[in-house]
């Protein structure tokens, strides 16, 4: 993992001292709220529905066990004993006091963490494949590149006041687990003539105008990555609309100007910038890569278990590791009925301890709001599972219907138009009660509490969008979305459902799928693509079917 240098530590200490002074000046009245608000947002501090919220960056979702312990400590000392892992691989604290936040940031700084650029019209936390460095299908570990991008974009003087926020995702594997096609820049590792580079996509995004990213370069050598990304952001900074915040993201810039025109401008700017990158960035990348060396893996004995509970958990919650005697373990933060993505301070400490004991001290946060132990010797899976289970972290549901992404929604978020957490909780409880989860198999349900789509509902196989319709919560369903390398935006199924109707509607949909599918291998998404929306709509709106009859 990347270790902070003296430069990094000094930068962070100075930044935290500045923010501490800004908080003091706000409290003593020297700064107005209008003056203070952009300063707090630059440091990840929002004012939400019930309290302040501190959003802490977890760069490319990678955490050491020490960092995870400190996240737990923050939850315990300055919040209400838990934290919320988000769809951008960050963690949010929902109840900090303004006076305490500088202390929280100082404590984070001690373990090389911060909240810089987790808000504002800047380049946000760079996200990556949560299996990075461990996945069997990986061409390269994307984290060194993601770290280089983090260093380049942090406090970049040209990019602090972009037309709108800007999000970059990187994957080193052909199976896209980082939703790169729904980002402002998506970087997908490719091999050509024995060399590794990146396919560069731009203009993807969800929100009120969902769009799939378009390829602007099909193969970019790694040595051109920074000047090329700088060219993209530079062109966007110039062309991006500042007259209308709803048309300010790069997806609209690409849409309005056309990908060919944007590509031409990027290439022109790239030609200007490339000579300015004299190789220092590549020296830095080489230094960063050295810090992402894999652990010294021990040899694991084969695992042979007949325990059905353990077997089920291994089937759903582990993925192939690049070493056959290791596994990637996903710890579900989606116990049936629990708040998706929440972990208590005790759970965070336990996961840190288990990472030290069984996973070489490394953890990852997924955009699907789970925690990953990337390197686990297979012979330790039984003891690991037992420890997780005892702490309420052993739910075997990763990739299944109750592994729901949900934004904080109107339970916390000032922008939300409806709740999403209780909808997720009720769907998960209902699925558990029906005992159909493993039979249903691979199914991604994603819920957003407003059109901004933090819950990625557009790319859910079943997407749920909570809206305010004449002062009442109303939920629209989209079908057929996909966040992978075959990315697709879900299609709206029809009229929305009231709060007390949405869970039965989802149940009808899932039961209809079980009737419609051709076998267990025919997933919900496959069946939808094969059959089209009609039979699923008929399940959602049975009254209309009767009316038509």
């Amino acid at each position: 993992m990347y270790q902070y240098t003296d430069f990094d530590r000094d930068f962070l200490a100075e930044r935290n001292a500045q923010f501490r002074a800004q908080v003091e000046r706000r409290i003593d009245g020297s700064l107005t709220e209008d003056e203070f608000k952009p300063l707090r947002l630059m440091n990840g501090v929002y004012l939400q529905l019930h309290a302040y919220m501190l959003r802490v960056a977890i760069p490319y979702g990678t955490l050491s066990s020490d960092q995870m312990r400190v996240l737990g400590e923050l939850a315990e000392r300055w919040d209400k004993g838990y934290g919320h892992f988000t769809t951008r691989q960050n963690i949010q604290y929902n109840w900090p006091k303004l006076r305490d936040i500088p202390d929280m940031l100082d404590r984070l700084g001690e373990v090389g963490m911060h909240a810089i650029q987790t808000s504002g019209n800047t380049i946000r936390n760079v996200t990556a494949d949560h299996f990075a460095g461990a996945a069997a299908d990986e061409i390269i570990d994307p984290r060194p590149v993601a770290e280089l991008l983090r260093q380049w974009s942090t406090d970049h003087p040209e990019f602090q006041f972009l037309p709108r926020k800007f999000k970059i995702a990187v994957t080193g594997a052909p199976n896209d687990r980082a939703v790169t096609r729904a980002h402002d820049i998506g970087l997908v590792a490719r091999e050509r003539d024995g060399k590794v580079g990146f396919e560069v996509l731009i203009g993807g995004g969800l929100g009120r105008t969902p769009m799939i990213g378009k390829t602007v370069r099909d193969f970019l050598p790694i040595e051109d990555l920074l000047p090329y990304c700088e060219a993209i952001v530079s062109v966007y900074n110039l062309l991006g609309r500042r007259d209308n915040k709803y048309k300010a993201r790069i997806k609209i810039t690409v849409h309005e100007n056309g990908i060919d025109e944007i590509r031409s401008r990027i290439e022109e700017r790239f030609a200007e910038l490339k000579p300015l990158f004299t190789g220092v960035d590549q020296d830095m990348l080489a230094g960063i890569e050295a810090q992402f060396a894999l652990p010294s893996f021990r040899t694991s004995s084969p695992l042979d278990t007949t325990d059905p509970i353990l077997r089920s958990w291994i089937d759903t919650n582990t993925a192939p590791h690049k070493r056959g005697d290791h596994a990637i373990v996903t710890i579900s933060l989606k116990a049936h009925g629990a708040t998706p993505g929440d972990a208590t301070a005790d759970q965070m400490r336990l996961m840190a301890d288990l990472a030290d004991a069984h996973a070489y001290g490394e953890l990852r946060i997924s955009h699907e709001q789970n925690v990953i132990l990337p390197h686990v010797p297979r012979d330790t899976l039984p003891v690991l599972h037992a420890a997780l289970r005892a702490a309420g972290l052993g739910t075997a549901n990763v990739g299944l219907a109750s592994d729901i992404i949900a934004c904080p929604g109107m339970d916390y978020c000032a922008l939300a138009t409806a709740r999403s957490i209780p909808v997720a909780q009720q769907i998960a409880e209902r699925i558990d009660a029906l005992k159909i989860e493993h039979e249903v198999g691979h199914l991604k349900i994603k819920i957003s509490g407003c059109i901004n789509a933090c819950g990625h509902h557009h790319v859910g196989h079943i997407g749920i969008l909570g809206l305010d319709r004449a002062g009442v919560e109303n939920y629209q369903i989209t079908l057929g979305g996909d966040g992978t390398e075959h990315a697709a935006i879900g299609e709206r199924a029809g009229p929305g459902f009231a709060y007390d109707e949405i869970v039965p509607a989802i149940e009808r949909l899932i039961l209809a799928y079980l009737d419609l599918r051709e076998g267990a291998e025919d997933t919900f998404l496959d069946a939808y693509r094969r059959l089209g929306p009609a039979p699923f709509k008929a399940a959602l709106y049975p009254e209309e079917k009767q009316d038509a009859a």
């Binding site: 004012l47 529905l49 019930h50 309290a51 957490i421």
Partner: protein
């Protein structure tokens, strides 16, 4: 387009230091219980009370007028967003609902 008739309001904001949701009472105090808020039934007075709130930036942040209605125990929220603000999140007994336990 005809102007919508004025409906009763309360002045609400978040405390500067804690971020807690608060309401302006008739006694010019910031209270945490929605029922203790001043229900304002006159538009001009509502605007004046909002100005009163905005003159207290050392105490509260983001003051605004929220729709409310009279109830047996005092003013009650009209919109569900204000109902959640008045009691706390639905997934944990945190926020105001915890204070009244």
């Amino acid at each position: 387009m005809p102007r919508r008739p004025f409906t009763p309001k309360v002045v609400t904001a978040n405390r500067l230091l804690e971020g807690d949701v608060v309401y302006l009472s008739a006694a010019d105090e910031w209270v945490t219980d929605h029922h203790l808020a001043e229900l304002i039934e006159d538009e001009a007075i509502a605007q004046l009370r909002l100005l009163d709130a905005e003159r207290q930036p050392d105490i509260v942040v983001g003051a605004y007028l929220a729709d409310a209605k009279a109830g047996p125990d005092g003013p009650e929220p009209v919109h569900f967003r204000e109902t959640f603000r008045s009691r706390g999140p639905s997934n944990y007994a945190h926020g105001k609902q915890a204070e009244t336990l």
